[in-house]
Structures are given as C-alpha cells and as structure tokens.
C-alpha cells in the first residue's frame, strides 16, 4: 500500500549512494529515479505499511495513505522523530487532529 512522495520536498537524498527511504524499507520497495532525483515506490501492492520509509525520511517527504477501497479520503498520520521521542500527528477524515508523543528509547 502506497507511500506517497511529495516531489516538492523530496530531493532524492542527494549525495547519498542509497537514500534514507531506500535503506529503510524491509521489502526493498523504495527507489530513486536519478533522472529527476525523486523517490518512488516500485510496487505499491507489495507494501506492508510499516512506515519505516516515512520515519526515515529527513525531509518529511513521505506520507502513508490507506487505499480508498479500505478507508476514506483523506486522513493523515505523520511521525516526527527526535533523539529519544517520537511524535505522531493524526488527522481524521473530518479534520480532527490528535497528537501522541512519547519516549521510544531510554539509552539516548
């Protein structure tokens, strides 16, 4: 299921031999089109929705979407990573937003 890449934010992780989302995906699904230096998902049908790519993107350029066949337009869930906490912002189809923030590591 599809991660969507915002082309205005993605720079293909310029300068890296492997972009952060390419590196993160457990299913080898993320790739970068070097002609335009933008990321894409090579097979949305194979995506597990683990959000590893979304969490790894340094430019918050990736958004996860539920396919319309299963969920309605348009809800969003965005993770923001910092040293030892994660913050999630979730907006439902009616525009209600909830924020969840908590510690995800004790050693940092």
């Amino acid at each position: 299921m599809p991660p969507r890449i915002n082309p205005d934010k993605c720079n293909g992780c310029e300068g890296l031999a492997e972009s952060k989302c390419e590196e993160a995906c457990p299913g080898d699904l993320m790739a970068v089109d070097e002609t335009v230096m933008k990321a894409y998902c090579r097979s949305t049908n194979d995506c597990w929705d683990c959000m590893s790519c979304t969490k790894a993107c340094p430019r918050n350029a990736i958004e996860q979407r539920i396919p319309y066949q299963l969920g309605y337009h348009k809800a969003t869930l965005k993770p923001f990573m910092s040293k030892n906490t994660i913050t999630w912002k979730c907006k439902d189809i009616y525009g209600n937003e909830k924020v969840y923030k908590y510690r995800n590591r004790m050693d940092k």
Binding site: P2, C25, D28, V32, P67, L70, W88
Partner: protein, 596 residues
C-alpha cells in the same frame, strides 16, 4: 565495516547479461546467520560473547535496522515470567494454549529458562518497558508486558553490529552450501548489486522468520494491497525452503497460525482484548467467549479457539464481530492508540480514514490468512536441544525453528542465544570447509535463470505465479475464504497444481533484480506450500480447529494423532514423505488446562 550498506539497484543496462557476467563474492566466516531479525541479532551478540574472536556474518535480505517482523515496532513482549512463576508454569500455559499439545516440551522448557534474561537484555539496551505505580514491570495479561517498542528493531540491530558481526544487507539467501550431508554455508542474491554471495562457514544459523504470503489475504481482492497481512510479507518461508530442499526435516507445519485481527486492515487484537479487557462481541452484541465458549474456558480458552471464534460467528450468520472498545476513558484510549502506533501505526491511520472513534464505535475484527510461524505456533524445522536441525551444521532459531509455540519477541531472542551456543559447541575443532565450485555454479544457474530469459521471453511474472499459488492455497488448503476447512480431495487437488507450478518455474521471468528476488521467493513459497499440504494431509483429524481443520475428520483422534507430523523431501528426487514422531510429556500436570 560491520554494517555494510547496499547501494542503489543496478540500472537495466548494468544487469548481467549472461551467467558468466554474474560476479561471485566469496566470504569466509566461522558462523553464518541467515536473517538478521529478532532471533538473528541475538545469535550474533551471544556468539561474540562466547568468543570475541569468532567471525560472525549476517546475510540480511532487508536492511538490519528495519527488517522482519519488528520493522514497525512492537507494543508488548508477549512472554516474560512474572515473580512467583516458574519456567514450568510457562510451559504448562503454552501447552494449554495449543490444546494440550503435542509440543516439544524439552525445547519449550529450555527456552523458558532463558527467557527473562533475554528480555532484560532488551531493557538494558534501551527498550522502554512500562512500569506500574511501584516501579514494577507492568503486566497487561498473565505473561505479557507493555513496552514502547517503536525502536525495538534498531535497538537489537545496533547491538549485533556493536558486537562485531559483519552485516551484509540486501543479500537474500536462496540456498545452502553442503559438504556431503553437512551444511557448510549458504548462498544469496545481492538484490542491489546483482552479485552472487557465497558464504562458507563452520556452522549456519537459519533465522529467516516464518512464511507469510502462502495464502491469499481477503484484503488483496480488488485493492492495491497484496501485502496487507499480519505477518511480515517479506518473510516468505525461504529459510524453510532452503533446508527442505536439502533434506532437512520439517515439523508440524499443519499447525498454521491463524489469528483474529482487526478487519479490513490487519492490526493486532490482543492489544485491545487482552490489554484493555475489551470483550469480543457478535452482531447481536453477545459476548462470544462468555456466552458460546464458556465450556472451553471463555476468555482463557486455548488460542486457536479464540482465534476461530469470530470466524465461526460469521460462518453461522452472526457477523460482523467486534472488539467492544466502547466506553473506554480518554486516558485508556490514548494509551491504546500509542500501543497501535508502536506496533502497527497505520491502523491508527485506518481508524482515522474510517472516521472512527473506538470509544464510540467498537473495532471490527476478522480472521487472518494462515501463516507458518514457529515462533507463534509450531511449524518449522525439527531441531534438537541445541537447535540443530536434522542437517548437521544447520541450526534454526525463532520463527524458523519448530516444535515450540508461543515464543514471540522474548522467546525468539532467547532461542537465538541457545542456537548460538549450540553452533559454537558444534564448530569446535572444525576446519574451514573447502568451496565446492560446482554447487555454486548450479545455484547460480537456478537463481539467475529468470533474469537471463530476456525481455521478449513469453513467460510468467513472479507476481502472477505468487497469486496463482495464493488462490490455490486459500481455496483448497484451508484459507480464510473456506473458513480454514479442507479435506483429502482438496489437498490432493492442491498438490497436483503445486506440481504443475514447480514444473512452470522454467517460465518465470524477471526484468530487474527486485523481480529476480521475487521470482526466487515465489519458488520458495511453492516449495513450502507443498510441505504444508503434505502436513495437512497427514493429520487425519481436527486437533486445532481454525489452525488445522479437516472437514472430513472433524474430531480429535488421540489414538492415532497425539504425536508430531513430520516431512522430509528427498534432495535427489524431490519426493516428499510424511511420518510421525512421538510426543513426550516432560512437565507434569493436566495437559489441557492451565491451573494458574
């Protein structure tokens, strides 16, 4: 150079055009770990603790920081023995959960003895384990504790790397290297650089996780989400396939893992039903477990009964089924959403996409597609107490090792340590094996063939073949659409078509390296599916309805089947043979009920 990152995949013009152009990378090591997941990371740490000089290589299909079952994180450690309880207690509970067994109590006990220390390792390494008001570890059920495990996988991976393992990322294992009947390494496809990686080792631990994606999932129909399943869809059973093809014995694959999951988006249900005591209800609002399954233990009924209960309601016309979360207070609801974010974050997105507030509307639940997972149920390699398979030199840990259910995160970690010790003991005095070029050449031919058939070749895509298999397994070998039921005739039908698929491997084609990996995965799925069908055929009774339901033998038959069903495949002829092994009760007491 311990964590060796992969680069961008080769462009079409850079792909090898012939077998001769395929580059081979030879790596010599002492211990090879196939699959750097939950168990694999613990194998690496333990091996280097036993001897800091030992060379450890991990062949990992993904990237070790986010790979396998724990990629998205976890919200609980499902087993951690509380104060006042013993490893024997855990085994008794585990036994009752699988309907009294049979199970390998020798393995279960040794795992239970190791369990808490492995979980404590995780906490020492930085995993947030939630505490109660008194600073004690917070239990959410009898044995499971709550964590904020979003970082669980990176935490384990970092320790494996710190311990000094060399991690070869994006190398997908395809086959074992043998010396006579002994395993002396493995080979894999570099899915980014297109090279063939050949690892020669004194001992090998196979920890590639379980097998998802053998069966069709209902969310795959008319959607763009063929991988929307519970289990990690990139663990496709390659570990089982590799060993099986070389003659290693598989155990108990008929005890498939089928779980109750949130409907239309496969998220956990234990989180709500166990963690928040939300009852399971049917369309009439009846509490199913209390009203219909009281005689089997109600909420404490064996796991397969709980897993099958909602699907039975659907079958009998009383669906939809729900986990009744209505009326949760805000703080509890917040906590529950955090749990989901830690383990299956997109389920929170799914609820938002349905405009659903679980405090006002109950969460709908349904049965999953079946998986083979030796860390949940029992399907996997037959192993001895050191976790060595029936192939000398080949060990198994975690979901890949069979016989011992209810391992989950803690148990897979514990078993990684046990397997590392077994492998360490085995390799003492062992010389570095010589490389057999012929085997390497044969494996190269086998795995690269789909790439070499050329763009104009009129063949079959890996996805087409995968989906053909998934339909077949779903409809004939007891998938969700059949409410998990099958019979002798359907299984024979499945076997006939599996043979046809095996014959059609020669039509598989791949346009790039990712597809080449998928072509190999699909061949592995077919080979594992063949074993699964033989297991289902051999158990002519119904012991674990839902996990294993024979419509033609609906009763449990203790006279003939209170034992393990096993299979081996003849490496030369490919013929599969099923047989049984006896069950041995080691922990005394009532097999069917957990007294605690």
């Amino acid at each position: 150079m311990p964590n060796i990152s992969a680069k961008r995949a080769l462009q079409p013009e850079q792909l090898p055009k012939s077998m001769e152009e395929v580059q081979v990378v030879n790596i010599e090591t002492d211990l090879l770990i196939i699959g750097g997941g939950n168990a694999g990371c613990f194998v690496a740490v333990e091996a280097r603790k036993l001897n800091p000089e030992i060379r450890v290589a991990i062949m990992e299909k993904g990237e070790i920081m986010r790979s396998g079952a724990c990629s998205a994180g976890m919200d609980a450690i499902n087993t951690y023995i509380p104060e006042g309880k013993t490893p024997e207690d855990l085994v008794q509970w585990s036994r009752a959960q699988v309907g009294g067994g049979p199970l390998r109590e020798d393995l279960a006990l040794s795992n239970a003895e190791e369990l808490n220390e492995a979980v404590d390792d995780l906490e020492r390494w930085g995993l947030p384990v939630l505490k109660d008001e008194n600073g004690k570890t917070k239990y959410r059920g009898k044995w499971d504790i709550s964590i904020h495990g979003e970082q669980l996988k990176p935490i384990m991976a970092e320790k494996a790397i710190e311990a000094g393992a060399d991690v070869y990322n994006r190398v997908a294992g395809t086959g074992l290297l043998m010396e006579g009947d002994r395993c002396v390494g493995a080979m894999g496809l570099g899915v980014r650089d297109g090279k063939l990686y050949v690892f020669s080792a004194k001992a090998v631990v196979n920890s590639t996780g379980g097998a998802g994606t053998l069966y069709k999932s209902y969310t795959a129909d008319s959607t763009d989400c063929g991988a929307q399943i519970w289990m990690c869809p990139y663990c496709v059973g390659t570990g089982y396939a590799m060993g099986f093809r070389k003659g290693a014995e598989l155990s108990s694959l008929e005890q498939r893992w089928v779980a109750t999951r949130t409907k239309d988006f496969c998220g956990p249900v234990d989180t709500i039903s166990v963690g928040y005591k939300a009852p399971i209800i049917n369309c009439k609002g009846e509490k199913i477990m209390q009203q219909r399954y009281a005689h089997l233990g109600g909420d404490a009924a064996p796991r397969f009964i709980r897993a099958n209960a909602p699907m039975n309601e659907w079958l009998e016309g009383r669906g939809p089924t729900y986990c009744d979360t209505r009326g949760l207070d805000d703080a509890t609801n917040w906590q529950m959403m955090c749990d989901y974010l830690n383990e299956r974050p997109t389920f929170v997105l799914f609820l938002a996409a349905r405009g659903q507030d679980p405090v006002k509307e109950p969460i709908e639940i349904f049965g999953s597609d079946p998986y083979i997972m030796g860390g949940h149920t029992m399907g996997g390699f037959w192993v001895d107490i050191d976790r060595m398979t029936t192939i000398p030199g080949l060990f198994a840990a975690g979901e890949t090792a069979g016989g011992n259910p209810n391992k989950f995160v803690g148990g897979c970690a514990a078993e990684g340590k046990i397997a590392a010790r077994g492998a360490w003991k085995y390799m003492q005095g062992m010389a570095q094996p010589a490389l057999d070029e012929q085997q390497v050449a044969a494996e190269k031919e086998r795995i690269y063939a789909p790439l070499m058939r050329g763009g104009d070749f009129d063949g079959v895509s890996p996805r087409e073949m995968k989906e053909r298999l998934q339909r077949l397994m779903d409809e004939y070998a007891g998938g969700y659409s059949q409410f998990y039921r099958t019979n002798e005739e359907r299984l024979d039908y499945a076997l006939k078509h599996i043979k046809m698929l095996q014959d059609q491997f020669r039509f598989l084609k791949a346009a790039d390296l990712h597809e080449l990996m998928q072509a190999n995965e699909t061949m592995d799925r077919v080979d594992v599916a063949e074993a699964v069908v033989h297991h289902l055929k051999a158990r002519k009774e119904t012991r674990w309805a839902g996990w294993q339901t024979r419509a033609d033998y609906p009763e449990r038959d203790d006279v003939n089947f209170d034992c393990f069903v096993e299979t081996v495949r003849d490496p030369k002829t490919g013929e599969v043979r099923a047989f049984t092994r006896p069950y041995e009760q080691i922990v005394p007491g009532d097999r069917y009920n957990y007294p605690g």
